[in-house]
Subunit: 391 residues, 2 copies
Amino acid sequence: MNIDKIRQDIRGLSDGKIFLNNAGSSLMPIPVVDSMIDYLQQEEQFGGYEIANRNAELLEQFYEETAKLINCKSSNIAFATSATEAYAMALSSITFKEGDVIITTVDDYISNQITFISLKKKLNVKIIRMKNLPDNELDLEDLENLIKQYHPKLIAVTHIPTNSGLIQNVEAVGKICKKYDILYLVDACQSVGQMVVDVEKISCDFLTATGRKFMRGPRGTGFLYVSDKVLEQNYAPLLLDMRGAHWSAFDDYELFKTAKRFEHWELSYASLLGFTEALKYANNIGMHAIEHYNKGLSERLRENLKNSGFQIWDQGNNLSSIITFCSPDGDLENIQKVLKESNVFFSVTYKNSALIDFTNKNINGIVRLSPHYFNTLEEVEKVSNILRIIL
Amino acid sequence: MNIDKIRQDIRGLSDGKIFLNNAGSSLMPIPVVDSMIDYLQQEEQFGGYEIANRNAELLEQFYEETAKLINCKSSNIAFATSATEAYAMALSSITFKEGDVIITTVDDYISNQITFISLKKKLNVKIIRMKNLPDNELDLEDLENLIKQYHPKLIAVTHIPTNSGLIQNVEAVGKICKKYDILYLVDACQSVGQMVVDVEKISCDFLTATGRKFMRGPRGTGFLYVSDKVLEQNYAPLLLDMRGAHWSAFDDYELFKTAKRFEHWELSYASLLGFTEALKYANNIGMHAIEHYNKGLSERLRENLKNSGFQIWDQGNNLSSIITFCSPDGDLENIQKVLKESNVFFSVTYKNSALIDFTNKNINGIVRLSPHYFNTLEEVEKVSNILRIIL
């Protein structure tokens, strides 16, 4: 991995900032931005339809690059404008009835939790959260017991929760879902682009991701993976549009075969193209190399902060490129002030975004640093030193 | 209306093309494209979250400009990535049960028809289409009879069907919906930007529109209008995310007050900003002036084609800037060939996109010309002359 070259590909680093908010919205590489600007200028000249026709082959690469990234076929991929849109499209293809059960985790993403609560309120779907073990890993025995007791219609797990360093063991959950033949939905919003995500190994039916975080794509992009099994069983969004089906008779349609049926017909092709460039960029470097590098970088940063006396809130045996922490007295203000003054980009999460997790941890908020492969060990040491001085 | 200035604002006209596909995807004015490129370049420098924060006030103008355009408050407006996404969000807020009835028209947009059929297939919702009168206007007496007979949960009308010149009398339908207190959804995809659309006068609960057509905004944009009545009754998308509610307890949330609850949290702010510039552009010219100009232009073009012997397929008393036609023998090929050779932009629709309407008309397809306020009478005469020679 040629870090110098990678850093030269980022115009946003020219002012010396240390960008550690890749779990928020990352810095796009030059080819991502340039491809979007070029595409918009083509549209400006000839209109959106003409340009989509002329670039039809190029735009198809989105599906191929995504498939390459997560180890599936391009026919399993749908473009989405966000991970939550992808999530909603997946959920809407499942016909929930009163009393149906969804099993999820206590660490799942806030938007997913709100979506589940809406299903509970409107359709009387029952939401059950599997337990964590004392080491914060998912209690898989509890999961099997819950399955036997409730016969859930869906199991939904967030691969890497947004507000803790945890990496959930989605492969182990996948094996259990397969054993009991239960639909399995994985939110990979924070893992795709950060580490290897392999849908074969996870053995999921649906997987959702966003473009703007560790993928380094533009805002307003994401994707949905849909398994062959689910496609063959004719799952389709409840409110499908002409992207999804051929209007075959006044009161009938025929579903199209691929996962594109989970898309809306209209979308921003400039954004799709920018996302494609981001996917290519990651594929060219290789996700194994990126994961390896990120692991080293985030371990170092976490270790440094711990050694300086900060309270680290990442729990679990397998930790990600998300480092969550606060001062020993719980203070966040001073950390924020110092980071801002030093041109370090970060984010802060408060309890209302991680209600269950932060209630269990008995904290009101955390500062989050999320390094990525374009960051250097020097940057990590520099930030560690800046923060060390506070305590 | 200063047509010269308006044409100078379009880089896409510099090659002499005659652009008559505004019902497809129009040509964006310079401020639309430039604002998007500028915003993407800011994101490239500092990341998407930082730039959204810095531009928060500017980005709010989207809601104000949309509200100004259709005569409502900014709190009634949600951004959408397409008209069909807006349509789906609106529909998903209505809890349909087996046997519920939706009344729509035979001329409604293909995507809406497919969505309705999906609701029929999956939830056993009944879809009924009100009749047209012999002059192709909606049979409002039939509508009232259907309401008395079926007590529909929703009435859904496409303001301007995509494939005929028709403008539906959505105001008259609105009065009937109000009289019987029935939810009313209007698809204004082809009317917004082309003519005055006033939600007070229409008296609808939901109205959906796209950015890329007569609004001249970017692809991947649209909006949803939600009435105060519906907002106060706590309608919200079934699969709502953290954009829509505050996570107030482990198993509960509080809905946010405004129509933003119909949005997804993540979106392309570059696209939203481009769309805002397009809305400003239309508001600055004024929709009354645009409607008046478009009326004159489209009448002239329709009249010219009719006088040359073409078969015009626009039916109804009140016609729009969409002109649909073919040769007397039904041929479309020759028309397309000549238009392409003359650098005229147009579109063609085949039966599978307008199944009911084209079956009733007994045709396989039409050529569609859709002039807009940046087109000139000279262009209309030129295209008329080019086509006259074919026959």
